[in-house]
Symmetry: C2
Amino acid sequence: MSAKVPAGKKIRSNHVDIVQVAQHAGVSPATVSRVANGQSTVAKHLAKRVWKAIEELGYTPNPQARALVSGRSRVLGLLVSEITNPFFPELMQSFEDVAGEHDFEVMIGSTNYNRERAKLFIRRLVQRRVEGVAVMTFRAESHLLDELVAQDIPLVTIDVSANSARSLVLEVDYAYGIDQTIQHLALLGHRRIGFASGPLPHLTNVRRRDAFLNSVKKIGLSAQNTPIFIGDHTFEGGTLAALHFLKCKPRPTAIVCSNDMMAIGVLRVMTERGIRVPREVSVVGFDDIHLAEFTNPPLTTVCMSRQELAHAAFRGLEQLWAGSSPDSNNSIRVRTGLVIRQSTDPPLELADSLRTRSRSRKVKVRSAAI
Amino acid sequence: MSAKVPAGKKIRSNHVDIVQVAQHAGVSPATVSRVANGQSTVAKHLAKRVWKAIEELGYTPNPQARALVSGRSRVLGLLVSEITNPFFPELMQSFEDVAGEHDFEVMIGSTNYNRERAKLFIRRLVQRRVEGVAVMTFRAESHLLDELVAQDIPLVTIDVSANSARSLVLEVDYAYGIDQTIQHLALLGHRRIGFASGPLPHLTNVRRRDAFLNSVKKIGLSAQNTPIFIGDHTFEGGTLAALHFLKCKPRPTAIVCSNDMMAIGVLRVMTERGIRVPREVSVVGFDDIHLAEFTNPPLTTVCMSRQELAHAAFRGLEQLWAGSSPDSNNSIRVRTGLVIRQSTDPPLELADSLRTRSRSRKVKVRSAAI
DNA sequence: TTGTATGCGTTATCAC
DNA sequence: GTGATAACGCATACAA
């Protein structure tokens, strides 16, 4: 008979529930549910009353209950490589934004190139009953995705396909931006262009390199004038690439990098050696990470729009939910485009005759593309 | 009597549920629940059998059902300023990691300094019934948090307190790192040190500035030798600050910035003007964002550990859940510390006599602190 | 068109 | 210690 309440136990939420709303509006819970879910089968005057009650009571449906009964969690997964790589934050934000607009929550995880870590995150994804996951990792860690595939969870990947009927791959059109790059360099007068590649086990890097090879072939450059260095997409890899190209004879007058971090590494070596960029050597990156605007000089680079990527990924998921036939067009294209900043100029030999033109070009901080 | 199944309707999950496990193990669902939740009141041999069944069937409890009945969503909110600011990704990752270890999911949102956006995110947080939120935004947008406070949701903030009984503020010890900085500069021989502040409406910036003022006073510098410029924590703000200090007479030999982005802006101006850093002017940042290692030269800066911040935030939430008395020690301290890289050197006047020492110092890429 | 009743998968409250 | 059974808040099949 003690009045003692089990401390901190019955702290039931102060949230209004559907029954209260129903009473307040003088209708049944079912009707409230229908109104809240935008079903048109409710009489106008009733719907109005229900909305009023909802407003007045500040009712917000309990997502857990909703998920439980509908079998749909309204949670998505987003897997990225590493969160400290400046490429990804924008992607994450864009993806959260689209998802949010469609009333989805997103669980974000980064592999940090660590299998265990990825495995753990993926486990949490399936436990949370995600309705789909965007694998924005540019890597073929397909066996990591097995658990997802086994659960038949819709999957959107980049470049490399998961082996699942309910998956779809985003095809990045590397060729377009790289073509622009090479033509930009050719126009400036460059005839010896080095390429700093990423690790070739990864399909994405093979594609970037092949696009490069293809583009330089188009403008008639020989293999000896298009040396390739295999790096690892890190800053250090960039420094190594720079040192490599510096030793090449003849030395390339322009260096195209497979990502921005390597380009930044190249920039550093050049600065340290007193080699002026772009006067003595032009440098081009890839990705257009936020940072590229703040390097010294600002980096000319190929932009792969994170926003476009994120939107494409979400659209892909939608297609999968709609059950698009797997063999139709289950790939979505994502474009790329050159952003010209200040790390490219005519090669030294041609510089004087073009100096004026080049200087005027430098005025614009960001010449848009895409 | 048609066999036609409402297409795509009854796609009930293929997840094993607690009842199946119970049957498989020959016990009641309640027992399975107890085992799964680690209650010690279950007989050993039964527990063993249950675990076996769980393994064999690959059972994972449905979080939605769990949340529904327990009233605990196991979801946390994390609010940051802007995701493209390199300070935050690491913070986000660390926070997700701690949270994950404790079986919490986290919803991440960034304000982008946009009220509407923040408002929207916060609404989603309360709809999702988050059990707590970390407001890592360094800003006093307290009225934005009203909705959270009204719902009595535990809140952890930085520097500035939310007006809620269930909140707690992380006190960053700016003074420690800034003291180290000034002493480092003084040791190098600097007697004229400029400070590029962030916008002063924000308490965090006031604190940083005050810490600076305090530190320079300690080494006996006059106000005229410690000019202050009020910037805005952006790259552009940094360039403005640099231009300002360049015009000061006497010109400061060292510039301390309230954050790294401004320092990077300073670096840029100096490079453009042909003023060598650190030979002619030393530059120090604040935050130690990832990027600081890759600037030219690598930036000496004050590190505020994102990991420490994230852990502190989570600990704070735990304290709040435990119901620590609000007046006890409801503030948690976070340390800072100087990371010496290569953007600081003795001032030009003293340079020759110290050249050797300075060069040897340059060898280490990252001299740790904290 | 509206209301009633059932079930989603789990934990909590009882008896046993 | 263990097992029935009743919530949790909602959507929905079905009855009205």
